[in-house]
Symmetry: C2
Subunit: 206 residues, 2 copies
Protein backbone atom coordinates (compact mmCIF):
# COMPACT_ATOMS: atom_id res chain seq x y z
CA UNK A 1 0.00 0.00 0.00
CA UNK A 2 1.32 3.46 -0.83
CA UNK A 3 2.17 5.80 2.04
CA UNK A 4 -0.95 7.57 3.32
CA UNK A 5 -0.72 11.03 4.89
CA UNK A 6 -1.45 11.23 8.60
CA UNK A 7 -4.11 13.86 7.92
CA UNK A 8 -5.95 11.23 5.86
CA UNK A 9 -5.71 8.65 8.66
CA UNK A 10 -7.13 11.17 11.10
CA UNK A 11 -10.08 11.84 8.80
CA UNK A 12 -10.73 8.09 8.54
CA UNK A 13 -10.93 8.01 12.35
CA UNK A 14 -13.49 10.79 12.21
CA UNK A 15 -15.52 9.12 9.45
CA UNK A 16 -15.64 5.97 11.58
CA UNK A 17 -17.05 7.98 14.49
CA UNK A 18 -19.68 9.59 12.25
CA UNK A 19 -20.63 6.19 10.78
CA UNK A 20 -21.08 4.81 14.28
CA UNK A 21 -23.40 7.71 15.06
CA UNK A 22 -25.38 7.03 11.88
CA UNK A 23 -25.57 3.36 12.84
CA UNK A 24 -26.88 4.22 16.31
CA UNK A 25 -29.51 6.42 14.66
CA UNK A 26 -30.59 3.45 12.56
CA UNK A 27 -29.36 4.84 9.23
CA UNK A 28 -28.36 2.08 6.78
CA UNK A 29 -26.77 4.11 3.98
CA UNK A 30 -25.18 7.57 3.81
CA UNK A 31 -23.91 9.75 0.98
CA UNK A 32 -20.47 11.31 0.95
CA UNK A 33 -22.29 14.64 1.44
CA UNK A 34 -23.94 13.39 4.64
CA UNK A 35 -20.67 12.00 5.92
CA UNK A 36 -18.85 15.26 5.14
CA UNK A 37 -21.66 17.25 6.74
CA UNK A 38 -20.93 15.78 10.19
CA UNK A 39 -17.39 17.05 10.16
CA UNK A 40 -15.36 19.87 8.77
CA UNK A 41 -14.73 18.48 5.30
CA UNK A 42 -16.25 18.13 1.83
CA UNK A 43 -17.94 15.28 -0.03
CA UNK A 44 -15.11 15.31 -2.58
CA UNK A 45 -12.56 14.85 0.22
CA UNK A 46 -14.55 11.94 1.69
CA UNK A 47 -14.65 10.21 -1.72
CA UNK A 48 -10.96 10.87 -2.32
CA UNK A 49 -9.92 9.57 1.12
CA UNK A 50 -11.98 6.39 0.80
CA UNK A 51 -10.88 5.73 -2.78
CA UNK A 52 -7.30 5.31 -1.49
CA UNK A 53 -8.39 2.06 0.14
CA UNK A 54 -10.53 0.57 -2.60
CA UNK A 55 -13.99 0.97 -3.99
CA UNK A 56 -16.78 1.62 -1.49
CA UNK A 57 -20.35 2.56 -2.18
CA UNK A 58 -22.12 2.90 -5.48
CA UNK A 59 -22.67 6.05 -7.47
CA UNK A 60 -26.02 7.51 -6.40
CA UNK A 61 -26.48 4.78 -3.78
CA UNK A 62 -24.20 6.03 -1.02
CA UNK A 63 -22.18 3.96 1.41
CA UNK A 64 -23.57 1.10 3.47
CA UNK A 65 -22.97 2.36 7.00
CA UNK A 66 -22.25 -0.93 8.77
CA UNK A 67 -20.04 -2.27 5.98
CA UNK A 68 -17.96 0.89 5.68
CA UNK A 69 -17.56 1.18 9.48
CA UNK A 70 -16.30 -2.41 9.60
CA UNK A 71 -13.88 -1.73 6.76
CA UNK A 72 -12.56 1.46 8.39
CA UNK A 73 -12.02 -0.37 11.69
CA UNK A 74 -9.97 -2.92 9.79
CA UNK A 75 -7.92 -0.24 7.97
CA UNK A 76 -7.26 1.57 11.26
CA UNK A 77 -6.10 -1.62 12.95
CA UNK A 78 -9.08 -1.61 15.31
CA UNK A 79 -10.01 -5.22 14.64
CA UNK A 80 -8.01 -6.20 17.74
CA UNK A 81 -7.17 -4.85 21.19
CA UNK A 82 -3.93 -3.21 22.29
CA UNK A 83 -2.19 -3.38 25.64
CA UNK A 84 -0.93 0.07 26.60
CA UNK A 85 1.62 1.19 29.18
CA UNK A 86 1.64 4.77 30.46
CA UNK A 87 5.11 5.89 31.49
CA UNK A 88 4.96 8.86 33.86
CA UNK A 89 2.25 9.25 36.48
CA UNK A 90 2.24 13.03 36.63
CA UNK A 91 -0.73 15.20 35.73
CA UNK A 92 -0.73 14.25 32.06
CA UNK A 93 0.00 10.57 32.67
CA UNK A 94 -2.69 10.25 35.31
CA UNK A 95 -5.28 11.96 33.09
CA UNK A 96 -4.39 9.58 30.24
CA UNK A 97 -4.37 6.46 32.45
CA UNK A 98 -7.91 7.29 33.52
CA UNK A 99 -9.16 8.46 30.12
CA UNK A 100 -12.41 6.66 29.41
CA UNK A 101 -12.27 7.01 25.65
CA UNK A 102 -9.41 4.53 25.15
CA UNK A 103 -10.99 1.25 26.26
CA UNK A 104 -14.02 1.86 24.03
CA UNK A 105 -11.60 1.73 21.07
CA UNK A 106 -9.75 -1.36 22.27
CA UNK A 107 -6.79 0.47 23.85
CA UNK A 108 -6.40 -1.01 27.33
CA UNK A 109 -4.06 0.70 29.76
CA UNK A 110 -2.55 -2.23 31.68
CA UNK A 111 0.45 -0.58 33.35
CA UNK A 112 1.43 2.83 34.74
CA UNK A 113 5.05 3.48 35.68
CA UNK A 114 6.82 6.26 37.52
CA UNK A 115 10.17 6.79 39.23
CA UNK A 116 8.85 8.96 42.08
CA UNK A 117 8.61 6.93 45.33
CA UNK A 118 5.73 9.18 46.43
CA UNK A 119 3.66 8.02 43.47
CA UNK A 120 4.35 4.27 43.67
CA UNK A 121 1.35 2.31 44.83
CA UNK A 122 -1.16 5.03 43.98
CA UNK A 123 -4.07 3.39 42.21
CA UNK A 124 -6.52 4.80 39.67
CA UNK A 125 -9.49 2.69 38.71
CA UNK A 126 -7.63 -0.34 40.07
CA UNK A 127 -4.47 0.49 38.14
CA UNK A 128 -1.48 0.70 40.47
CA UNK A 129 1.51 2.95 39.75
CA UNK A 130 4.56 0.68 39.43
CA UNK A 131 8.26 1.32 39.85
CA UNK A 132 9.83 2.10 36.48
CA UNK A 133 13.13 0.56 37.62
CA UNK A 134 11.31 -2.80 37.58
CA UNK A 135 9.79 -2.30 34.15
CA UNK A 136 11.96 -4.91 32.41
CA UNK A 137 11.21 -7.51 35.09
CA UNK A 138 7.48 -6.89 34.75
CA UNK A 139 7.30 -6.80 31.00
CA UNK A 140 9.88 -9.21 29.60
CA UNK A 141 7.28 -11.95 29.05
CA UNK A 142 4.40 -9.87 27.84
CA UNK A 143 4.92 -6.22 27.12
CA UNK A 144 2.75 -3.40 25.85
CA UNK A 145 1.81 -2.99 22.20
CA UNK A 146 1.81 0.77 22.62
CA UNK A 147 3.55 2.99 25.18
CA UNK A 148 2.41 6.46 26.15
CA UNK A 149 5.40 8.49 27.26
CA UNK A 150 4.37 11.28 29.63
CA UNK A 151 7.64 12.10 31.34
CA UNK A 152 9.92 15.15 31.50
CA UNK A 153 12.01 15.61 28.39
CA UNK A 154 15.36 14.72 29.95
CA UNK A 155 14.45 11.08 30.65
CA UNK A 156 12.28 10.44 27.60
CA UNK A 157 14.94 9.15 25.21
CA UNK A 158 16.38 6.58 27.61
CA UNK A 159 12.88 5.36 28.45
CA UNK A 160 12.05 5.14 24.74
CA UNK A 161 15.21 3.05 24.23
CA UNK A 162 14.15 0.68 27.03
CA UNK A 163 10.62 0.39 25.62
CA UNK A 164 11.97 -0.40 22.17
CA UNK A 165 14.23 -3.07 23.71
CA UNK A 166 11.10 -4.58 25.25
CA UNK A 167 9.58 -4.86 21.79
CA UNK A 168 7.34 -1.79 21.79
CA UNK A 169 6.73 -0.66 18.21
CA UNK A 170 4.47 2.35 18.79
CA UNK A 171 4.95 5.31 21.13
CA UNK A 172 2.62 8.21 21.82
CA UNK A 173 5.07 10.84 23.02
CA UNK A 174 4.01 13.74 25.25
CA UNK A 175 7.59 14.56 26.29
CA UNK A 176 8.83 17.76 24.63
CA UNK A 177 11.67 16.08 22.71
CA UNK A 178 12.09 14.44 19.33
CA UNK A 179 12.75 10.77 20.02
CA UNK A 180 15.31 8.82 18.02
CA UNK A 181 13.94 5.32 17.36
CA UNK A 182 14.54 2.54 14.82
CA UNK A 183 12.70 2.84 11.51
CA UNK A 184 10.18 0.13 12.43
CA UNK A 185 8.94 2.03 15.49
CA UNK A 186 6.09 4.50 15.03
CA UNK A 187 6.19 7.66 17.13
CA UNK A 188 3.37 10.15 17.35
CA UNK A 189 4.26 13.38 19.12
CA UNK A 190 1.60 15.26 21.04
CA UNK A 191 2.33 18.80 22.14
CA UNK A 192 -0.50 20.86 23.58
CA UNK A 193 1.31 24.14 22.92
CA UNK A 194 1.46 23.26 19.22
CA UNK A 195 -2.30 22.61 19.27
CA UNK A 196 -2.77 26.11 20.66
CA UNK A 197 -0.43 27.52 18.00
CA UNK A 198 -2.76 26.31 15.24
CA UNK A 199 -5.31 28.59 16.95
CA UNK A 200 -2.98 31.56 17.44
CA UNK A 201 -2.15 31.21 13.74
CA UNK A 202 -5.87 31.30 12.91
CA UNK A 203 -6.43 34.36 15.12
CA UNK A 204 -3.43 36.11 13.58
CA UNK A 205 -4.61 35.50 10.02
CA UNK A 206 -8.33 35.97 10.71
CA UNK B 1 -2.67 34.90 1.95
CA UNK B 2 -3.79 31.60 0.48
CA UNK B 3 -5.16 28.95 2.81
CA UNK B 4 -2.34 26.98 4.44
CA UNK B 5 -2.83 23.34 5.48
CA UNK B 6 -2.83 22.66 9.20
CA UNK B 7 -0.05 20.11 8.72
CA UNK B 8 2.12 22.96 7.40
CA UNK B 9 1.31 25.16 10.40
CA UNK B 10 2.26 22.33 12.74
CA UNK B 11 5.60 21.92 10.99
CA UNK B 12 6.25 25.66 11.33
CA UNK B 13 5.70 25.26 15.09
CA UNK B 14 8.27 22.47 15.09
CA UNK B 15 10.78 24.45 13.01
CA UNK B 16 10.44 27.30 15.50
CA UNK B 17 11.29 24.92 18.36
CA UNK B 18 14.32 23.57 16.48
CA UNK B 19 15.49 27.12 15.66
CA UNK B 20 15.24 28.04 19.34
CA UNK B 21 17.40 25.03 20.17
CA UNK B 22 19.95 26.08 17.54
CA UNK B 23 19.89 29.60 18.98
CA UNK B 24 20.53 28.27 22.50
CA UNK B 25 23.44 26.29 21.11
CA UNK B 26 24.87 29.50 19.65
CA UNK B 27 24.31 28.56 16.01
CA UNK B 28 23.79 31.62 13.78
CA UNK B 29 22.79 29.99 10.48
CA UNK B 30 21.32 26.61 9.57
CA UNK B 31 20.63 24.84 6.31
CA UNK B 32 17.28 23.33 5.41
CA UNK B 33 19.01 19.94 5.81
CA UNK B 34 20.01 20.74 9.40
CA UNK B 35 16.52 22.00 10.19
CA UNK B 36 14.94 18.89 8.66
CA UNK B 37 17.41 16.68 10.53
CA UNK B 38 15.99 17.68 13.92
CA UNK B 39 12.54 16.50 13.03
CA UNK B 40 10.87 13.90 10.90
CA UNK B 41 10.90 15.74 7.60
CA UNK B 42 13.05 16.51 4.56
CA UNK B 43 15.04 19.53 3.45
CA UNK B 44 12.76 19.89 0.43
CA UNK B 45 9.73 20.01 2.72
CA UNK B 46 11.35 22.68 4.89
CA UNK B 47 12.09 24.84 1.83
CA UNK B 48 8.59 24.33 0.44
CA UNK B 49 6.90 25.17 3.76
CA UNK B 50 8.93 28.34 4.27
CA UNK B 51 8.54 29.48 0.67
CA UNK B 52 4.78 29.78 1.27
CA UNK B 53 5.50 32.77 3.47
CA UNK B 54 8.12 34.58 1.42
CA UNK B 55 11.77 34.32 0.70
CA UNK B 56 14.02 33.31 3.58
CA UNK B 57 17.66 32.39 3.49
CA UNK B 58 20.01 32.49 0.55
CA UNK B 59 20.98 29.61 -1.69
CA UNK B 60 24.07 27.99 -0.21
CA UNK B 61 23.99 30.32 2.79
CA UNK B 62 21.25 28.76 4.88
CA UNK B 63 18.79 30.54 7.12
CA UNK B 64 19.72 33.08 9.76
CA UNK B 65 18.47 31.38 12.92
CA UNK B 66 17.39 34.42 14.93
CA UNK B 67 15.75 36.14 11.97
CA UNK B 68 13.80 33.06 10.88
CA UNK B 69 12.68 32.30 14.46
CA UNK B 70 11.37 35.85 14.80
CA UNK B 71 9.57 35.59 11.49
CA UNK B 72 8.00 32.23 12.41
CA UNK B 73 6.82 33.63 15.74
CA UNK B 74 5.14 36.43 13.81
CA UNK B 75 3.52 34.04 11.31
CA UNK B 76 2.25 31.83 14.14
CA UNK B 77 0.74 34.79 15.97
CA UNK B 78 3.20 34.43 18.85
CA UNK B 79 4.21 38.10 18.86
CA UNK B 80 1.63 38.68 21.60
CA UNK B 81 0.15 36.91 24.62
CA UNK B 82 -3.22 35.18 24.85
CA UNK B 83 -5.59 34.95 27.81
CA UNK B 84 -6.96 31.43 28.05
CA UNK B 85 -9.96 30.02 29.90
CA UNK B 86 -10.19 26.32 30.69
CA UNK B 87 -13.80 25.12 30.87
CA UNK B 88 -14.08 21.87 32.80
CA UNK B 89 -11.93 21.10 35.83
CA UNK B 90 -11.92 17.32 35.50
CA UNK B 91 -8.80 15.24 34.91
CA UNK B 92 -8.10 16.68 31.46
CA UNK B 93 -8.96 20.26 32.40
CA UNK B 94 -6.83 20.19 35.53
CA UNK B 95 -3.84 18.75 33.66
CA UNK B 96 -4.18 21.48 31.03
CA UNK B 97 -4.67 24.28 33.56
CA UNK B 98 -1.39 23.28 35.18
CA UNK B 99 0.51 22.53 31.97
CA UNK B 100 3.82 24.37 32.13
CA UNK B 101 4.40 24.50 28.39
CA UNK B 102 1.66 27.05 27.70
CA UNK B 103 2.97 30.15 29.49
CA UNK B 104 6.38 29.79 27.83
CA UNK B 105 4.59 30.34 24.50
CA UNK B 106 2.50 33.27 25.71
CA UNK B 107 -0.68 31.29 26.44
CA UNK B 108 -1.76 32.30 29.95
CA UNK B 109 -4.51 30.32 31.64
CA UNK B 110 -6.40 33.02 33.59
CA UNK B 111 -9.65 31.21 34.41
CA UNK B 112 -10.84 27.68 35.14
CA UNK B 113 -14.58 26.97 35.25
CA UNK B 114 -16.65 24.02 36.33
CA UNK B 115 -20.26 23.33 37.28
CA UNK B 116 -19.52 20.79 40.02
CA UNK B 117 -19.95 22.37 43.49
CA UNK B 118 -17.32 19.94 44.83
CA UNK B 119 -14.71 21.45 42.51
CA UNK B 120 -15.46 25.14 43.05
CA UNK B 121 -12.77 26.89 45.03
CA UNK B 122 -10.13 24.27 44.33
CA UNK B 123 -6.93 26.07 43.40
CA UNK B 124 -4.02 24.95 41.22
CA UNK B 125 -0.94 27.14 41.14
CA UNK B 126 -3.06 29.96 42.51
CA UNK B 127 -5.76 29.46 39.90
CA UNK B 128 -9.14 28.99 41.56
CA UNK B 129 -11.92 26.91 39.98
CA UNK B 130 -14.86 29.24 39.37
CA UNK B 131 -18.59 28.63 38.98
CA UNK B 132 -19.44 28.32 35.29
CA UNK B 133 -22.93 29.73 35.94
CA UNK B 134 -21.18 33.04 36.70
CA UNK B 135 -18.99 32.97 33.60
CA UNK B 136 -20.83 35.81 31.81
CA UNK B 137 -20.65 38.03 34.91
CA UNK B 138 -16.91 37.40 35.22
CA UNK B 139 -16.00 37.81 31.59
CA UNK B 140 -18.28 40.41 30.05
CA UNK B 141 -15.66 43.16 30.39
CA UNK B 142 -12.56 41.21 29.51
CA UNK B 143 -12.88 37.67 28.23
CA UNK B 144 -10.46 35.01 27.04
CA UNK B 145 -8.84 35.07 23.63
CA UNK B 146 -8.87 31.28 23.55
CA UNK B 147 -11.05 28.78 25.40
CA UNK B 148 -10.09 25.19 26.12
CA UNK B 149 -13.22 23.09 26.35
CA UNK B 150 -12.63 20.00 28.49
CA UNK B 151 -16.18 19.02 29.42
CA UNK B 152 -18.40 16.01 28.74
CA UNK B 153 -19.86 15.98 25.25
CA UNK B 154 -23.45 16.72 26.24
CA UNK B 155 -22.73 20.22 27.56
CA UNK B 156 -19.99 21.22 25.10
CA UNK B 157 -22.15 22.86 22.41
CA UNK B 158 -24.08 25.09 24.81
CA UNK B 159 -20.81 26.15 26.46
CA UNK B 160 -19.28 26.84 23.05
CA UNK B 161 -22.30 29.02 22.21
CA UNK B 162 -21.83 30.98 25.44
CA UNK B 163 -18.10 31.42 24.80
CA UNK B 164 -18.76 32.66 21.27
CA UNK B 165 -21.32 35.14 22.66
CA UNK B 166 -18.58 36.40 24.97
CA UNK B 167 -16.38 37.10 21.95
CA UNK B 168 -14.15 34.02 22.01
CA UNK B 169 -12.85 33.35 18.48
CA UNK B 170 -10.71 30.25 19.10
CA UNK B 171 -11.60 27.02 20.90
CA UNK B 172 -9.42 24.02 21.65
CA UNK B 173 -12.04 21.29 21.99
CA UNK B 174 -11.39 18.12 24.01
CA UNK B 175 -15.10 17.23 24.21
CA UNK B 176 -15.96 14.28 21.94
CA UNK B 177 -18.38 16.24 19.75
CA UNK B 178 -18.14 18.30 16.58
CA UNK B 179 -18.97 21.88 17.59
CA UNK B 180 -21.11 24.11 15.38
CA UNK B 181 -19.68 27.63 15.48
CA UNK B 182 -19.81 30.73 13.26
CA UNK B 183 -17.35 30.83 10.35
CA UNK B 184 -15.09 33.36 12.09
CA UNK B 185 -14.46 31.06 15.06
CA UNK B 186 -11.54 28.63 14.84
CA UNK B 187 -12.02 25.24 16.46
CA UNK B 188 -9.26 22.69 16.92
CA UNK B 189 -10.43 19.26 18.04
CA UNK B 190 -8.19 17.11 20.19
CA UNK B 191 -9.06 13.47 20.68
CA UNK B 192 -6.55 11.21 22.37
CA UNK B 193 -8.15 8.06 20.96
CA UNK B 194 -7.59 9.41 17.44
CA UNK B 195 -3.92 9.99 18.30
CA UNK B 196 -3.68 6.32 19.31
CA UNK B 197 -5.43 5.31 16.09
CA UNK B 198 -2.63 6.85 14.01
CA UNK B 199 -0.43 4.33 15.87
CA UNK B 200 -2.77 1.34 15.51
CA UNK B 201 -2.88 2.18 11.80
CA UNK B 202 0.94 2.16 11.71
CA UNK B 203 1.09 -1.16 13.58
CA UNK B 204 -1.52 -2.65 11.26
CA UNK B 205 0.32 -1.59 8.10
CA UNK B 206 3.76 -2.01 9.64
Amino acid sequence: MRRIAESTIRRLSLYLRFLEEFEEEGTATVSSEELAGRGATTAAQVRKDLSLFGSFGKRGMGYRVHELATKLRDILGLGRTYDVAVIGAGKVGSALAQYGGFAARGFHVRWVYDADPAKLGLAWDGLRVRDVSRMEDDLHDHGPDIAILATPGDVAQSLADRLVSLGVRAILNFAPVQLAVPADVAVKNVNMAIELETLSYALRHG
